[in-house]
Symmetry: C2
Subunit: 193 residues, 2 copies
DNA sequence: ATAATAAGCGGACCGTGGTCCGTTTAGTCT
DNA sequence: AGACTAAACGGACCACGGTCCGCTTATTAT
C-alpha cells in the first residue's frame, strides 16, 4: 500500500529537526527578531533554499514553532473543562476564551507577532479561522442573532496580538485589565438576546 | 525675526513637490503596491536618499499622500454637521463615525494599507491617537463609564483597515453590512449606562 | 548490484526598504 | 562679488525575505 503522503525522505526529516532545534536556539539567544532566515540556515548547516522548502516563509516557520502550544490551546477550549471548554454557558466560555487568548499572546509575544505576517492575509491562517468560528458558535449559543459571523470577526479583531502586546509592553497595561475589558465587552454584546 | 522653523530651502521645496507629483503618477499607473522607493526616486529625478530625507519611510510617504483627505475627515467629525459632528448624541456620533471611517478605508484602500506599517507601531500615528481619543470622548458622553479608554481601543481595533478591506475585497462583504454591524456593536456597548 | 527517478538540496541571485557619508549648493554675512 | 556654513543631495551600500535552477542523493524497481 502506498500512503497518501508518499513518506518523507530521511534526510528531509533530519534537516527539519536540525532547523527547528537551531531556530529555538537562535530565539533563546537573540529573541525572535534576531532570527533571520540566513542565520538559521547557517546555524543549521543547511542551504537557505531548504529552509524555505520546509516552512514556506518566515511566518510559516513561526507557526510551526507555535504549533504545539497552539494545539494545546485548541484542545483546551474545544474539549477541556469548563468554563473554557464545553459545559459552561456561551457567555462564560467567551469570557474565558478571551482571557486565555490574552495570556497566550502575552506569553509567546514575539513569536505570535512574527507569525502574523503570513504572505496573503493573516485571516487565512487555519488557526485564526478556527477561533473565529469558535467565537461565532458561542455567540449563537448565547442567543446573539444579528450577523454573528461579522460580530465574531469584530470580537476577534479586539484580541489582535499587535494591539494587545502594544498595550501590555509599551503602555504598561496589566493583562488582567485587558481581560476585564474583554469580559465587559462580551457581556454587553450578548446581553439580553 | 527668525521663524521657529528656519525656513525651507527652495530646492527642498521643489524636490518635495516633484516627489509628490511623481508618487501620484506612479500610483495612478501601477497602484500603491507598484510604488517602490527606488522607482519613485528615479521618476522624480532625485536621489534615493532625498526620498527618505523627506518622508522618513514608505509609510510616511503614504501618510503624506493621505494628509489632505485625512484632514478633511477630521474636520468633518470634529466640527462638521451632525450626526458626525457635534450636536448629535454620543451614540449617534459613534455610529456615524464608524460608517464614515469604513467608507474612507474602502475609498483609499491600498494607500491606507501601505500607511499602516509605520516603523514603530501603528498606534503612535497621530491620526490614530486622535480617532482613539474621539471615540473615548463619545463613549463617555454616551454614559459609558467602565474603562472607556480601553473600550475605545477595542472599538478602534474593530475598524482595522486590513480587516475591513479583507472582508470587502476577498469576502465580498458590502460596506453597508459592515456599517450595520458596527452600529449594532456600538448600540450594545453603550446600551443603558 | 545497478540503474532510474523524483525528492531534496544549496547558494547565487533578485527586489525591497532603509542607512551612510562624501559632495554640492542655497542662503547669508561681509 | 566672495567666502562661509549648514542644509540638502545622491547613490553606493546593507540586511532581509524570498525565488530559481542545476546538482546530489535516498529510495525503489529490476
Amino acid at each position: 500500500m502506498t500512503p497518501a503522503t508518499p513518506a518523507e525522505r530521511s534526510d528531509a526529516v533530519r534537516n527539519r529537526e536540525r532547523l527547528l532545534a537551531a531556530a529555538r536556539e537562535l530565539i533563546s539567544e537573540c529573541g525572535a527578531e534576531g532570527l533571520t532566515m540566513d542565520r538559521l540556515a547557517e546555524r543549521a548547516g543547511v542551504g537557505k533554499g531548504t529552509v524555505f522548502r520546509r516552512f514556506g516563509s518566515r511566518a510559516g516557520l513561526m507557526l510551526t514553532l507555535l504549533d504545539d502550544s497552539e494545539s494545546a490551546f485548541q484542545a483546551r477550549f474545544l474539549f477541556g473543562p469548563p468554563p473554557l471548554g464545553p459545559g459552561a454557558p456561551g457567555r462564560e466560555r467567551l469570557i474565558a476564551f478571551g482571557s486565555e487568548r490574552i495570556a497566550y499572546v502575552v506569553e509567546f509575544g514575539d513569536l505570535v507577532l512574527a507569525a502574523e505576517n503570513a504572505s496573503r492575509g493573516r485571516f487565512d491562517v487555519p488557526a485564526a479561522a478556527l477561533w473565529h468560528r469558535h467565537i461565532e458558535v458561542l455567540l449563537r449559543e448565547a442567543g446573539f442573532d444579528s450577523d454573528p459571523w461579522l460580530m465574531a470577526g469584530s470580537l476577534s479583531a479586539t484580541l489582535d496580538p499587535e494591539r494587545l502586546l502594544h498595550l501590555v509592553r509599551d503602555r504598561g497595561v496589566a493583562p488582567e485589565r485587558l481581560a476585564a475589558s474583554w469580559a465587559d465587552l462580551v457581556t454587553r454584546v450578548v446581553k439580553d438576546a
